[in-house]
């Protein structure tokens, strides 16, 4: 007969009010950590699926919110803890990204907005998009734009058509493909978040907090390997399909004419491969 008793499963309350968790939150939150901890339990209890989620994933998502100093209040729209499968996922809203940008002290302004028919006046991607907001919004948005200006004068704009945003959602969100989830329920807010997130990640100076936010967004934050993120709902396309296409075309080239046809568009990273293939063909394939 075994003398060991099976360890009882820890509930969310056990986790939240354990000494270790309290200590972690106290070190992160100067103001009222106890209220924040209570709010975690309230958030989890308000959602049946979240109630069943792994408690450690809820705590880790909440810790990330505390690290970024973003309130977890659904009405404010800065950040959320959302259930996905049997875990909790940390998600940042577009307002959360704006908040972090403001706090970095580098931004003069940052906005995201839907764009309606007739509002685009210049769509030159090199010079930047221009919009005429005196045109009254009619119908559904045709796209979404985000723009920031830095204090040093640098500014950047990103525009995505509604179709592009939908394509993005279908590519990165399994739940949207299946017809439910946060994309389906809050398309407008998610679209604004997408343009602002892509714009920031590509063109903005990234503070430590912003880097954390970009990595943690939509991730399950692992408890045992601190700082690592697991993405369940989004599987980013890892292969650059255009680059892959070009590499295959170089590989397929069997004549110097084929090589000539490719020279016009060759990306820098594949120039050496193209020249090597050209040399090989000149040497009779050796």
């Amino acid at each position: 007969m075994s003398t060991e008793l099976e360890k009882p499963k820890q509930t969310l309350k056990d986790y939240v009010f354990s000494e270790e968790t309290k200590r972690k939150f106290e070190s992160l939150l100067k103001d009222n950590p106890a209220t924040f901890l209570t709010s975690i339990v309230q958030i989890a209890n308000s959602n049946d699926m979240l109630k069943k989620a792994e408690p450690s994933s809820i705590i880790n998502a909440a810790l990330t919110a505390a690290t970024l100093n973003l309130p977890l209040n659904n009405n404010l729209g800065f950040a959320w803890i959302v259930p996905y499968q049997d875990k909790a996922q940390f998600q940042i809203g577009w307002k959360g990204f704006v908040q972090l940008a403001q706090r970095s002290g580098l931004f003069k302004s940052i906005y995201a907005t839907p764009i309606y028919e007739g509002q685009i006046t210049n769509n030159n991607p090199l010079e930047g998009y221009e919009f005429d907001f005196s045109v009254k919004p009619t119908g559904a948005p045709i796209g979404y734009a985000a723009r920031f200006k830095l204090l040093n004068g640098f500014q950047s704009t990103m525009y995505m058509s509604t179709e592009d945003v939908e394509r993005h959602a279908k590519k990165y969100s399994q739940t949207y493909k299946k017809g439910f989830g946060v994309w389906k329920d809050n398309f407008d807010a998610m679209a604004k978040k997408t343009v602002i997130k892509l714009l920031i990640s590509q063109y903005a100076p990234l503070s430590i907090n912003m880097q954390t936010a970009l990595l943690a967004d939509q991730a399950i934050i692992k408890q045992d390997e601190e700082g690592t993120f697991q993405y369940l709902d989004n599987e980013p396309e890892k292969v650059d399909k255009e680059l892959e296409r070009f590499a295959l075309l170089i590989q397929d080239a069997s004549t110097l004419d084929d090589i000539e046809a490719l020279k016009k568009h060759v990306p820098d990273v594949l120039l050496d491969d193209l020249l090597m293939k050209e040399q090989k063909l000149r040497n009779g394939g050796k």
Binding site: E117, T138, G139, K177, G179, R245, L249, A253
Partner: protein
Amino acid sequence: MEANNILFRCSSLGYIMTEARSKQEVLSETCITHLVDVYIAEKYQRNTDINNKYIEKGLQVEEDSITLYSRVKKVFFKKNEAHLNNEFIKGTPDLYKGETINTATEIIDIKSAWDIYTFFRAKHKSPKKLYYWQLQGYMALTGAKIATLAYCLIDTPPALIYDEKRRLMWKMNILSENDPDYIAACEEIDRAMTYPDIPLHERMFEIEIIRNDADIEAIYERVKKCREYMQKNLLKTL
């Protein structure tokens, strides 16, 4: 909302171009159904969610189809992202030949077949009317004289193959994945949905469609009729 501002997507021109059953009717039933959908989308921002496995595959393998087309043609093609419109229609052609999309000499529209059977059946049939009108629309928007439907046969992504196998398991009413009949049927699914053994040039065919200015004019006339119908019957009464 003004019906005169509504632009019709090239991909749905085939619906409005269907002919009415009798000469007394101006618009067909298919057309009217589509107009109701357009009205709902414009006014209430709700779209008929046509999300089936065929469309899903098309979306997932789009870039791979362009790669296949590029390799067979030995020319690098990049997906066009520019959305075009005129006062009647709008659309985003997949690929084009020419310096810019606005001066394109040829438009190429990629169609990714669901499986080897739909691929070969399409090869031996005339193209769907829906595609004919879609390509006339693209030619109207760009000035191109020729448009090409490029059918591509691409391996089905693993997640979609898995879905097919799951459906099969349900249909066969078996409980274990180790059932020998089920295993054999899954192997058949894999063979039917992946094509590494088929040479690239046998996995792509093209159908050329020549610009027809009379048909383009007919599209514009039909758009006017559709707008009239929407203004009179949908905007005022619904």
